[in-house]
Amino acid sequence: MTIVTAAPPPESPGAGVEVRGGPASEAIPTSLLFLGRALRTLWSNRKARVGLCIIGFDILIAICAPLIAPHSPTATTFTPYSGPTATNWLGTTGNGQDVFSQMIYGSRITLMVGLAAGALATLVAVTMGLVAGYRPGPVDEVLSFITNLALVIPGLPLMIILAAYLQGRSIWTIVLVVAFTSWATGARVIRSQATTLRSREYVTAAVFSGERLFRIVFREILPNMTSLVAASFFGAATAAILAEASLEFLGLGNPSTVSWGTILYFAQQQNALLTGQWVLVFAPGLAIALLAVSFTLVNFGVDALSNPRLREKS
């Protein structure tokens, strides 16, 4: 759910064209200030607050994993196929590993893949969208065609094919594959916003004052679509988390890493449901779902960031 608004946020450099050209050091406090204000607006949205809390909690667990996890996630020292016990809170895998510790450590991989793939997809989306939106004519035609093509090709089947062909997989393979397949939606939204911003006075002024293309696109136009960029990041991160889980469940991940997706994969391989160990399926799936939901919840706040009409009165 992304809402395109033409109104630039008040912090836009367009509001003060004469300020531009100052030393770069001056821009840092401004952008920090902007970030702080954005976070405050996000925090004031109830849904986004819940989302931020879940993400923060997950990040905390990922960082403190060695302190929280009671056992090593890879040690095969326990009775295999055991149900929840006092030592193994969520039971053990068929190889005798502690599932609770695996869940704790697994948050690292899932978070990293989600954030890295989301960031990479956003980078592609911003570049494609900005260039296409700012350069009408053949450049726009070609880039828009590529974007539309990427949009209509079913994502998950393409990811499966790509991952199946790439041998020697690491989690970075998954990051690349997911980023490669989930940038198109963001690119389209950013392109349409860039098209409307292109003809604004402050952009024309920048062109006439002889600014380079790179600077116009990234310093004049980009700051006016921060919320769109953020929305496409959180959207891509949600997609990345779900896609990672799917690929790893299919056995297309790296089975030697411990992540929520690989816990699901091994649970299915070892017929956890038939042996009654439904926790092995339930816990990682729930963790994945919660993280995916929290990214979507934050996106509600991002929408409110760009569209004051959507802000909650609370």
């Binding site: 759910m1 994502g155 041998q167 449901l273 919660l290 939901v293």
Partner: protein, 329 residues
Amino acid sequence: MRYRYVRRKVVLFVITLWAALTLNFLLPRLMPGSPVDAALGKLAAAGVTITNAERTAIEMQLGVPHGSLITQYWQYLTGIAHFNFGVSYSFPNETVAQAIGSAAPWTLVLVGSTTIFAFIIGTLLGVYAGWRRGKAADSVITVGATFFAGFPPFWLGLLALYWLSFKLGWFPIKGGYSPGVTPSLSLSFLADAFDHSILPALALAITSLSGWVFGMRNNMINTLGEDYVTFAEANGLRTRTVALLYAARNALLPNVTAFGLSLGAVVGGAVLVEGVFGYPGLGNLLYIAVSNHDYPLMQALFLVITVSMLVAIFIVDLLYVRLDPRVGQ
């Protein structure tokens, strides 16, 4: 002119189709390593030494193309035109085309009915949420839809399989129809197949509802602010009449364009859901192909899925002119 719109769509469809075919051709050729290397690697890991003659034999068996890229491309295109996708090594007795042909109707029915179901329910919920914006019903619907959208469909399927089929015995456990029954168009077989499709369809439908809900809710909020809605209200029409007949009708239009695209997401979800349920469709076939490193089958499935998507989107585009005459002008 309407013809110009249709002509543009046809040209775009043909170019996109060509690009998708070419992408499918280039993908395996751009990738590092090859199916042959993978097969040889497996043999080497098992301690088998491979002579050059054996390597050639494996290449022949896997249908590894020879000749220049241009000749390969030509062979690939003529092969597709004749529905010749090579030999699958998961199903030695069938060609890839036969395996796909027998699986396609299952997915078509499953994904088709799921999408239509999700579209109707999601749109209705979205209309209601948009109409009752800010009220309790709106919060329940939006929060609920957000949560279900975060669930991996295959996970929901696994849990449903465990509790509803395995523990409670309400639904059949695996497959698209009961073992021992031969597929036919008899009423008893269709009832049996329907029974088997309920859980996979539900897992897919629940997780794909949210797109429709949010799309429709936002459109409703926009149309409810339009002048003609205010005018209808000022005329003293009942709020329900205004919401359903004036606002919802027009809010529906943008959602229709999303119909084609949403098929892609459902097809993606169907791959794993069908795998989980052992449902005999294209998704299950892809699941098998991936587990067996069956590259010819994988390649053909990707092609079939992509082309069906393109056709679906093309049809929706054409139908859209009839729904909204403005796009043709």
